[in-house]
Subunit: 491 residues, 2 copies
């Protein structure tokens, strides 16, 4: 296994081809590293500038005169080999080659890439790329990449065989307050292959979930072995690009990767306990769930809903995804009998018939979480219903009524209630080691997917936008739990 | 067919059981109507108040002394029949019964509902409900319902057999700037059934798309006939709650509706040209697409992408949903050869290899839209990529560079560029009568799904959040076009 520790945790970085021309890679990368808060040393290297963003520029990497843990190369393809030789001369082992113009273009590019990979193997170099948008380690604020995103540090590490797919996932993570640990765009994989990153993320104690966008795998066997080594320790979520005939044709013209038979690939991956997903958004949501919630130990779901229709929709989705809704157990029925009107459904889903009572919310969720009859709880329609009451006040104010209420204060109060309720969900997950999936009535624009509060606990509540998103996520988590059970890693 | 024109376009409305107690239905509904901008007359009726929100209260509906087009009843179930008799005495024909406590509860409730429906049939009354959260007509600002949403008027009319499902869809529509025409929660359907609303929406010139959440249909044949009458004129999108065993059990305890065999229902619906969907969010997005874009006349898709990976993902989704990506046609190749670097893919998807050039964006989309080889265009990664350049500027400013640029002005400029580009998409849809589906790099929190601008045209651009959302929507629209073609309504 390759040691990529210094690649992802460098103490000093050189950017070769550094520039202040904002539209050039040599500027985009160094400005991203310097402005992104990296606390290690950053050295611009260029033959055509004296100073870049206030730093003295070295002509070559050798001129820096200090050890460099990581070099990012942005010079044109035809100069890359010469630059690599300079790196070798001062024993720089970890390199990201952003430059394009290699095997993704034509025969000459293929030959150039072959030379590059031979050189790397001879000199024991770890090379990311070429033709990559770079890499990042959000734990140390290292942004050696194109995307100027600023993410919360978290447990999810992402490898993508496509820069723009990686870019989009990181933008989504930023928007949804989902924390990432590391990113790497593997580019043409001339030297480091997807299985190398998988092995490294497996060994990395800052990574708890691994997500991968893969178009093609050169060495299926070694990728499978890496997957099999990893999944007993942490979940691996994989999106395969080029699943279909036209998709794999598109992949071939994109990265030159041979997609191979998706059916064989998929079943091989599932055998190894890898969670296969079909979309980027599913991948990100599932990763966030793995990172912030306990695993469901079985497929028996308790549903609590503020209104009947959502319960129906959710029950459908559950059955369609291999989950079951056992009848309401006696213990839950008794706890709730006392709190609900006589005509309550007395079934699973538990229908709260619209009662806007936070105490009832907690009681009903806890009753189901505490019951041995359920492995996971879905809770529908409550999140973001708190503030709808403000609309009632606003309407009556508009009609001239003196509501004798400071609405701004009331809004803060309702926000506080909701935040406390989400904390309660996190607490209940810890108390019962069961996942709870709140689905919002509506997610306001600025609502993060992961609820972050002052509370420092083992788990955090997530807020799902739709019942189907919650159910599909739950079903995949259950699939992984089943795998762990099968291999004896989960009781 | 029942005449529901006055029910949906009343000039005067009475709320029976009106109150100023904000948590009571009698307050929620009347404050919503009065504050919501309804320009007709609003009459509170109550035996226990003198004045409600500044209006004099009548003891009974007869005491109003003026014709009432629509009465909304919020009194307890046991008083409803007496109130109905008063309505009949002054010839009020259109009634919404919000009150619950009927067939959804127990045998006594069932019997009460039977009396109610007999009374309505004897007196020729149109009754919505009972046990409904109400109805709305956004074209005339009539909000005779629980949800205090404020929607843009649009062409989509919604019928839901579940108040909370309807409520959620309206909140989503509000958030996404999707316009609605009308809403009705059909409740227990004691008198007016889902087929009556379908027929009315078919006849309503303010409705261009119909969406329905249905848990059960009492008279399958008459619902099918209504569907068959409607789909040649306007698309009907239907979400069936209770598709599965556990889902239909949940539906039964919710509305008492017998779900019946979903397989038979689904194939009957598809025979009638109804678009069946599996989720609320899919329903709303598809309806917005029907309302704002032309139909794809075939299944040949042209894809333009800012980066390769998205093209691969989209090609996969297309093939999985019965769409095809024909090879790049000669005319498109020639138009783009002049504008792209030598090594461009020359295939479909067209990969713009990250070139951030608005002129190229327009040219590539127009080249494909103009070509006879494609029926619809998907355009990936461009929307919301415009402003990412601001992050580069911000990084360099942070590093002390004087960028000699007013960033706020630049932001406005980039926003303007993007808005103009979305207008261009609308124009191209009009010019070529082909739908174009832009998928955003990332949708910022406050971005509407339908782009609205000063431009007054036949179509508007939509912004899709993910490739799969665009492809699935396109595939369903194509399914409807195929149906219209089969019945001779589309060439």
């Amino acid at each position: 296994m390759k040691d990529l520790k210094k690649l992802f945790y460098p103490e000093s970085v050189a950017v070769i081809g550094a520039s202040e021309n904002m539209l050039k890679w040599g500027s985009i990368i160094i400005s991203n590293i310097m402005a992104g808060g990296f606390s290690g040393e950053v050295h611009p290297v260029s033959t055509s500038s004296e100073v870049v963003y206030g730093r003295k520029v070295s002509k070559t990497i050798a001129d820096i005169g200090k050890p460099v843990d990581l070099a990012v190369i942005t010079v044109p393809a035809h100069s890359v080999l010469a630059v690599l030789a300079q790196c070798a001369s001062v024993d720089v082992k970890n390199i990201v080659i952003v430059s394009s113009g290699f095997s993704e273009t034509n025969q000459a590019g293929k030959e150039l890439e072959k030379k590059l990979s031979d050189f790397a193997h001879t000199h024991g170099m770890n090379i990311v790329g070429p033709n990559t948008m770079g890499m990042a380690n959000f734990k140390i604020n290292l942004h050696a990449m194109f995307s100027h995103v600023r993410l919360i540090p978290g447990g999810i590490s992402l490898m993508a065989q496509s820069g723009n797919v990686g870019n989009q996932i990181m933008y989504w993570a930023e928007q949804q307050h989902i924390g990432l640990s590391k990113f790497v765009g593997s580019g043409n994989e001339a030297v480091l292959m997807c299985e190398d990153y998988l092995d490294y993320f497996n060994s990395d104690s800052d990574t708890s979930v691994i997500i991968m966008y893969v178009e093609g795998v050169d060495n299926g066997r070694s990728f499978m072995e890496a997957a099999r080594r990893t999944t007993p320790n942490k979940p691996v979520v994989l999106l395969k690009g080029g699943r279909t005939g036209i998709g794999s044709k598109a992949a071939m013209s994109h990265t030159g990767a041979l997609a191979g038979s998706i059916r064989i690939f998929k079943s091989a991956m599932e055998q190894c306990g890898v969670c296969m997903v079909n979309t980027q958004s599913e991948m990100l949501t599932l990763a966030a769930a793995f990172d912030t919630m306990p695993l469901p130990k079985g497929n028996r779901i308790g549903v609590v809903t503020l209104g009947g229709g959502w319960g129906v929709i959710t029950a459908d989705e559950c059955e369609e995804h291999g989950l079951v809704l056992p009848p309401l157990s006696e213990d839950v029925r008794e706890r709730l009998n006392a709190m609900l009107p006589d005509f309550w459904s007395k079934g699973n889903p538990v229908d709260l018939v619209g009662q806007p009572d936070p105490h009832l919310f907690r009681e009903s969720v806890e009753a189901m979480a505490a019951s041995d009859s359920y492995d996971a709880i879905i809770f529908l329609g409550v999140i973001n219903s708190f503030k709808t009451v403000l609309r009632l006040y606003n309407a009556t104010i508009k009609l001239g009524k003196d509501v004798q209420m400071d609405l701004a204060e009331m809004e803060r109060h309702l926000d506080g209630l909701q935040s406390a309720f989400l904390d309660t969900i996190a607490e209940l997950m810890e108390k019962y080691e069961k996942p709870i999936y709140p689905v919002a009535l509506v997610s306001p624009p600025d609502q993060p997917v992961v609820h972050r509060s002052q509370r420092q606990g083992k788990y955090s509540a997530m807020i799902f936008k739709t019942p189907e998103e919650a159910v599909r996520c739950l079903a995949k988590q259950y699939g992984y739990a089943k795998y762990l059970h099968k291999i004896g890693r989960l009781q």
